[in-house]
């Protein structure tokens, strides 16, 4: 789609640009930094380099080294100091370079960040955002392709979201930064620079609430729920199924903690069938949680057990094998067939 021509009389067009997910995140950060001088960006290589994915490109140049911090190389340090800065009144946005490198910070995230409000019964808050590029499919070496979002979604006190398109990328970043709760934003790194996903982002629109899921394609034969990097796979499956005369409903979960399963329940009550897609391993995961709750809420509507299409219950394999590990169109359609033929 061509970008609408900017015309001074047409404010909608003036505020709307077509962009990738990566650029939308960058614009979201920039707008938040302009709106509030207390917003800081911190992480490894986020300054001069603009981050290894260039999501923070240009921010240090425009806002200075005191607002965009190239930190020492230590994730526990990044999150731990962000908590201190937040207590002091700042709103730090931390970048973790790749999801596989977040674990040195696990202690600060689970012991301090998630619990500060509860421990002080609201006297302290920790409005820290942690940005985490995640997911596979980029042909990388170990620790660069994982999906640890379930681990964090399991922690009470922490909020977790994942974007799958430029509009959500922009707005989730803005909403996460203005949230008084700590928010982790899992960003689908494979899709950062996808030109196929470029979309117009209207920065004056009213966004959906941060913690809401959304029906992105209507259908009645079966429901697919997915998020982040799995969303395009779900949509492709729906397109392929349509060619065979089956209309699939696709829901973008968007918020992983808290989950917003109302739209999923409503959909499953109509379709009777649910396929949940995620790159993460399935055991004790977000997909287990969705399946459990749908079976609880929609028991009498279900025509088939909830199907899950996920990474295997193994460590992420060498990337030459990742096409097997990652949910793809065929595996999703196979699961849809299983659900329909049950």
């Amino acid at each position: 789609m061509a970008a609408p021509a900017a015309s001074p009389v047409d404010t909608q067009a003036a505020n709307t640009q077509t962009m990738t997910i990566g650029k939308a995140l960058n614009n979201g950060l920039r707008a938040a930094m302009e709106a509030d001088p207390k917003v800081l960006v911190m992480g490894e290589d986020v300054g001069k380099l603009g981050g290894v994915f260039r999501v923070t490109d240009g921010l240090q140049k425009d806002f200075g080294e005191h607002r965009v911090l190239d930190t020492p190389l230590a994730e526990s340090g990044i999150v731990g100091t962000a908590i201190g800065l937040a207590v002091r009144g700042f709103r730090p946005v931390c970048e973790i370079q790749f999801e596989g490198f977040i674990f040195p910070a696990f202690d600060q995230i689970s012991s301090q960040l998630a619990k500060l409000r509860y421990r002080t019964q609201g006297k302290l808050k920790a409005p820290v955002v942690i940005r985490v590029p995640f997911g596979g499919g980029i042909g990388a070496v170990e620790h660069h392709s994982e999906s640890p979002e379930s681990l964090f979604s399991h922690i009470p006190g922490l909020k977790v979201v994942s974007c799958s398109n430029p509009v959500d990328a922009y707005w989730m970043m803005r909403q996460a930064i203005s949230s008084d709760d700590p928010v982790m934003v899992f960003e689908p790194k494979k899709l950062y620079h996808s030109s196929a996903l470029k979309a117009p982002v209207d920065t004056t629109a009213t966004p959906d609430p941060l913690h809401s899921s959304r029906v992105v394609r209507h259908g009645d034969a079966a429901t697919i729920a997915a998020y982040g990097p799995s969303l395009p796979v779900a949509l492709d499956a729906a397109t392929a199924a349509q060619e065979e005369g089956r209309s699939l409903e696709v829901i973008d979960l968007r918020t992983l903690s808290p989950l917003d399963l109302g739209p999923v329940f409503e959909s499953v009550r109509r379709t009777g069938r649910l396929v949940v897609v995620s790159e993460a391993s399935s055991e004790v995961s977000l997909t287990s949680e969705v399946a459990a709750r749908v079976q609880q809420e929609c028991f009498y509507s279900l025509e088939a057990p909830v199907q899950r299409v996920t990474g295997f219950d193994t460590p992420y394999p060498p990337a030459k094998l990742e096409e097997h590990f990652l949910p793809d169109l065929d595996r999703v359609l196979y699961a849809v067939d299983n659900a329909l033929e049950w």
């Binding site: 290589d45 040195p104 070496v141 193994t314 394999p317 030459k320 094998l321 097997h324």
Partner: protein, 404 residues
């Protein structure tokens, strides 16, 4: 050099204390900045011009290094560099997913690696292809990681070379633990030195900021572990210069942990060999740990996905080219006499052959089979995982039979 204690404001009325951004003149003289070249503190045995400097402390560790042995070190470095450049080129041609170049760090890696004995153990990060080579690992065995067919490759016990570690700093604690084990097993301080062992662990300047590295230093110190912490300060952690990690030259950190720290010219293969031999010797005799900071330079990008023009100037690279680790040995050998042009030509020809073999091997490396995804997750595989494997392989077989 004055000690850090003297850097604090001496007189309460004397104005604001100095900071890293605005050091006092004394601090500048004291070498406050982490990247200041060590001056007198830098152990160097072979100058960039190829002049051999006498050193009463470290020369005894080079007693066996005659011209023939030095030619061997030269050959090692040339082969390693050639294999590194070939691998970099193969990444550009799409044969490798990524390559992590070691260009410029050949002396630090070959010198320290050649200081090890077979029973010693080395824990690398991810750039130590030159150390792998000195441990007897065929360069071809490194390619699987970068072609993304494998997560490691060689048998660590066979070569005394642990798998590469990508998560920055993790291996420093693992190495400290291994060294504690060497000590618990009675492999330290024996009268018969052949019984003794030591461990060396490699990490970068950036890694020194990680909590794991701090803890690794603490553990090694508290248990008097026979571990050499070998930090290759190549001046950069991706786009961040060493000043982002430390105010103090890194080797000086050792003092706070209670063991010796030394800065060696990381582009001087003789100094790296001698100093590492000394450090390992200290460890084997129960005087470990030791921190070595090899002061060197990452002459290429961080990896093949990095673009250093975004964050550093080419003058810096030009200045370091004059300190090239291989050129100085070549100059020294040529000047000292006894090494004919034939030798250098022979090594170059051998390097070409080495690279050609690497290339042939890489181009014909098979992809792993899908079963590999499920293998060796556990010693005792849960039934559910076996079932998942079977289900997936049947699903794939269904495609082959045209079922789906």
């Amino acid at each position: 050099m004055p000690s850090p204690e003297q850097w604090t404001r001496p007189d309460p009325g004397a104005g604001p204390a100095a900071t890293a951004a605005q050091p006092s003149p004394e601090q500048v003289i004291a070498g406050l900045r982490a990247t200041t070249e060590g001056g007198a503190e830098l152990t160097q045995l072979l100058t960039p011009e190829g002049e051999r400097l006498a050193d009463s402390r470290f020369d005894p560790y080079l007693a066996d290094i005659d011209a023939e042995a030095l030619r061997g070190l030269y050959r090692d470095m040339v082969l390693v560099r050639r294999a590194d450049r070939e691998s970099n080129a193969m990444q550009r041609q799409g044969q490798l997913g990524i390559w992590v170049p070691l260009l410029g760090q050949e002396a630090a890696q070959v010198g320290s690696g050649r200081a090890l004995r077979p029973a010693d153990m080395a824990f690398p990060s991810y750039r130590e292809h030159g150390v792998a080579y000195t441990r007897g690992i065929d360069f071809r065995e490194l390619l699987g990681i970068f072609r993304c067919t494998d997560h490691s490759g060689w048998d660590p016990a066979e070569y005394g070379f642990h798998p590469y570690t990508i998560v920055i700093g993790n291996q420093v604690l693992n190495a400290a633990g291994y060294a504690m084990g060497q000590k618990f097993d009675g492999k330290v301080g024996n009268a018969d030195d052949a019984e003794n062992e030591a461990t060396i662990v490699y990490f970068g300047d950036g890694a020194t900021s990680q909590g794991d590295v701090h803890e690794g230093f603490v553990w090694g110190a508290v248990y008097d572990a026979p571990v050499v912490y070998f930090c290759q300060n190549n001046q950069w952690a991706i786009s961040e210069p060493t000043e982002r990690q430390s105010r103090l030259p890194l080797y000086q950190r050792a003092r706070g942990y209670g063991f010796p720290g030394i800065r060696v010219d990381g582009n001087d293969v003789l100094a790296c060999l001698a100093v590492t031999r000394w450090a390992l010797d200290e460890c084997r005799h129960g005087n470990g740990p030791v921190l070595i900071e090899a002061f060197t330079y990452r002459m290429d990008a961080h990896t093949t996905t990095d673009d250093p023009t975004r964050y550093r100037l080419s003058d810096e690279l030009e200045a370091w080219k004059l300190k090239d680790p291989i050129e100085r040995v070549r100059a020294h050998l040529a000047r000292a006499g006894g090494t004919e042009q034939d030798f250098f030509d022979g090594v170059d020809a051998e390097a070409d052959e080495f690279a050609a073999q690497l290339r042939d091997f890489c181009f014909t490396m098979p992809d792993p089979p899908p079963e590999r995804i499920f293998s060796e997750v556990y010693a005792d595989t849960p039934a559910a995982l076996d079932a998942q494997r079977e289900e997936y392989l049947n699903y794939l077989a269904g495609f082959a039979g045209g079922e789906h």
